[in-house]
């Protein structure tokens, strides 16, 4: 006797004889309760997904906003206007207009004189020193450059804008608090009074801090910039790219297309995958031992940094390239072989162009990781205090993440905002690189 269930009556119409006569075969559960359970489960799953995305976006927003809020102020610099008397007797008594002679003139005196002219009541030695400290020590060089460019103005009085000292700058930005007792403060009460007086008289302003992007590192925060680090990073990454891209792609092509599949190639593949996970500081130690100690390459140079980072990026490039190559459908290879193309022609004319988008994406990901790596560069000495902008691959240099690390350690208050600003520059670089990756992918993308 067949057991026919009573529910879902209209499905019974589709049962044929053989099914009806066999022992009971259950039908799917079409009840309302079951349906609602499924809908609820799907809704729950979707909400988990949305919650995960929301959490990730929230963390990203918090990260970005904290960095930007701290670092944005570093792109602005407080300046003080002073009437400087370009005294001929100090600058060029014999009227020679000799640039070497002019370079050695006592500009500091002129700046101090201008300051004292603003506040003639200042007399004691200590107060005078205090007063001089509200202007940046680089004011001398600013004045020297101005005079060198405007020789005809010697003998006149000019109103010039000078960078304030870092502490005054921080005071103006509110980072140094006024209501703290004087002994705990970096700026004295006098300095605050003088600065406020200047502000009252409209002799202060905040302008864009171009020094940050045009000069190298410095002990004085108001004269410090990231250009040295930017150039150092760029040179290092160039070496990394030139080394890791061709070697990585060719290794991947050989391993994927030509190498026989035996135990040796399996071993190589396992090792490459492992290398991709090795901590980067190990590559730094390797660079120290091999490149610096054994080969004697110059310390702190972009070329050594490039070698070390290339070793680190190589496994990433190889893995990405192999994945891209294996994603090319075998029908393309068969078509090329069928026409009489050699294996090398097949790979270079057909497979490689189709795999390019994937290879480029993997390379850019590797480059972006290399840009942000600090540990291996610290090991090979790129942690030194480099003031000059490097001009070649063998000049000592520093890199952006290392610069961030150095400034994070610096005691001056003004370096706090500059650390965050350097991070903003680093992030801007990363965004640019990813943009380049997207554009290159689109250019190479083909439909098949």
């Amino acid at each position: 006797m067949s057991l026919r269930s009573a529910w879902c009556g209209n499905i019974e119409k589709n049962m044929n004889d053989s099914v009806a006569n066999s022992p009971a075969r259950s039908k799917p559960n079409f009840s309302d309760v079951h349906l609602r359970k499924r809908y609820r489960a799907e809704l729950r799953f979707k909400s988990y997904g949305i919650a995960a995305i929301a959490a990730a976006l929230a963390m990203l927003a918090i990260l970005l906003s904290s960095i930007v809020s701290t670092g944005l102020s570093a792109f602005f610099q407080t300046e003080i206007a002073l009437d400087v008397q370009l005294d001929r007797s100090v600058l060029d008594p014999s009227d020679t207009a000799d640039s070497e002679f002019l370079a050695k003139a006592n500009y500091r005196k002129l700046v101090r004189d201008a300051l004292r002219a603003e506040f003639p009541e200042v007399s004691s030695r200590r107060d005078t020193r205090d007063l001089a400290k509200i202007v940046s020590s680089g004011a001398d060089f600013t004045l020297r450059r101005f005079v060198a460019d405007n020789l005809e103005l010697i003998g006149t009085t000019q109103t010039l804008w000078f960078k304030s000292s870092a502490d005054i700058d921080q005071l103006n930005k509110g980072a140094i608090l006024r209501d703290v007792p004087e002994n705990d403060r970096r700026v004295s009460d006098n300095q605050i009074a003088w600065f406020d007086a200047l502000a009252e008289a409209d002799r202060t302003r905040t302008s864009f801090n171009s020094t940050f992007l045009t000069s190298g590192d410095s002990r004085e925060p108001e004269q410090a910039g990231v250009l040295g680090a930017i150039v150092g990073s760029a040179l290092t990454l160039l070496v990394t790219l030139v080394l890791s891209f061709p070697v990585g792609v060719m290794a991947a092509v050989y391993l994927q297309e030509f190498a026989p599949k035996n135990r040796w190639t399996d071993l190589i593949e396992v090792n490459i995958n492992n290398l991709a996970a090795v901590p980067s500081i190990v590559f730094g130690l390797l660079g120290l031992a091999v490149f610096l100690n054994f080969f004697g390459l110059p310390r702190s140079a972009p070329i050594v940094g490039g070698f070390v980072l290339a070793l680190m990026t190589l496994p990433t490039v190889i893995i990405a390239a192999r994945a891209a190559l294996s994603s090319v459908p075998p029908s393309i290879r068969e078509a090329a072989l069928g026409v009489g193309a050699s294996p090398l022609q097949t790979v270079s004319h057909h497979v490689l162009p189709l795999a390019m988008p994937g290879i480029l994406t993997g390379t850019i990901i590797g480059m972006a990781r290399a840009l942000g790596e600090t540990a291996p560069l610290l090991m090979i000495g790129m942690v030194a205090f480099i003031v000059d902008i490097p001009s070649g691959f063998t000049d000592p240099a520093t890199a952006l993440p290392v610069q961030v690390y150095l400034w994070a350690d610096a005691p001056e208050r003004a370096f706090v905002e500059r650390t965050s600003a350097a991070i903003i520059v680093l992030l801007a670089f990363l965004v640019l690189m990813n943009l380049a990756a997207v554009l290159l992918r689109r250019k190479f993308e083909r439909r098949w």
Binding site: S331, E334, A335, A336, G338, V339, G340, A341, W448
Partner: protein
């Protein structure tokens, strides 16, 4: 056919062999055994393929027809676990001899696959690629001429002559397959192998390609693997029936279809199995 000689002379194009002349053997297989690892796919297959004829290989799925076809242009070499034993000769030359250059061999044999696979390049580039890499054209004008004549012979010229720069993958299925045929004949092969070329196409496209095969056989030797017995009966002059890796019977198409010798052949063509 020497492996080291230059491969650029046209072969068979001038041979005005009519259907009535006694056909010579272009491809001869003797005692071919093929193993995929431990599993044997072909058992002692011996077959003669005649020049300027269409030879059809028929049989149920998995009987080894495609395997045999791929042995002729050594495409099975790309499969590491595949082992081919026995003798296959083209124009009397053993193609598995060690001094044979596989790449040049494949330039003498064209292949059209089941699923159309044009290169993801322009239509012009698809056809021009083969002649270019084999040094068959002396300049752009030469190449243009080769492209045009190949497309004309494949019956595709009128449809694509205004859009040669467009990607080959943008054509319809039937057009893509004709493009693949044009690509195969552009290098002027001696033999054209077709592995179920019409199985992915609609009946009208199929009919056009069958017409094409009839025209092509005047200049080329064609071997076609097909699932459709009607197609084999329509286009081929000789037919070979494969079953479970054995070549059961081969002979003139009319004989196979009207008066087969083997019972298995009879069962297959009457639809008892496969």
């Amino acid at each position: 056919m020497k492996g080291t000689a230059k491969m650029s002379e046209p072969a068979g194009a001038e041979a005005a062999q009519t259907a009535t002349a006694a056909p010579s053997t272009k491809v001869r297989a003797s005692g071919v055994n093929v193993h995929y690892g431990d599993k044997q796919a072909l058992f002692d297959v011996s077959l003669d393929v005649h020049e300027n004829r269409v030879t059809a290989l028929i049989g149920p799925s998995g009987c080894g027809k495609s395997t045999f076809l791929r042995c002729v242009n050594r495409m099975n070499d790309t499969i590491p676990i595949c082992r081919v034993d026995g003798l296959i000769e083209i124009d009397g030359q053993d193609i598995y001899a060690p001094e044979i250059d596989v790449v040049q061999l494949r330039a003498r044999i064209g292949m059209v696959f089941q699923k159309p696979n044009p290169f993801p390049k322009s239509i012009y580039e698809n056809i021009a690629y083969g002649p270019r890499i084999h040094g068959m054209a002396r300049g752009k004008a030469d190449l243009d001429e080769v492209v045009e004549s190949s497309l004309r012979r494949a019956g595709l010229w009128e449809e694509v002559k205004d859009r040669l720069a467009e990607p080959g993958t943008g054509l319809s299925g039937g057009q893509q397959q004709r493009l693949c045929i044009a690509r195969a004949i552009a290098v002027n092969p001696d033999v054209i192998l077709m592995d179920e070329p019409c199985s992915a196409l609609d009946p009208i496209a199929t009919a056009r390609i069958e017409e094409l095969m009839d025209e092509l056989r005047r200049n080329y030797t064609i071997v076609i693997v097909t699932h459709s017995m009607q197609q084999a009966a329509r286009v081929s002059q000789r037919t070979a029936f494969f079953h479970l890796g054995y070549l059961v019977e081969s002979g003139a198409t009319e004989m196979i279809f009207t008066n087969p010798e083997d019972e298995r052949t009879q069962d297959y063509i009457t639809g008892r199995f496969g």
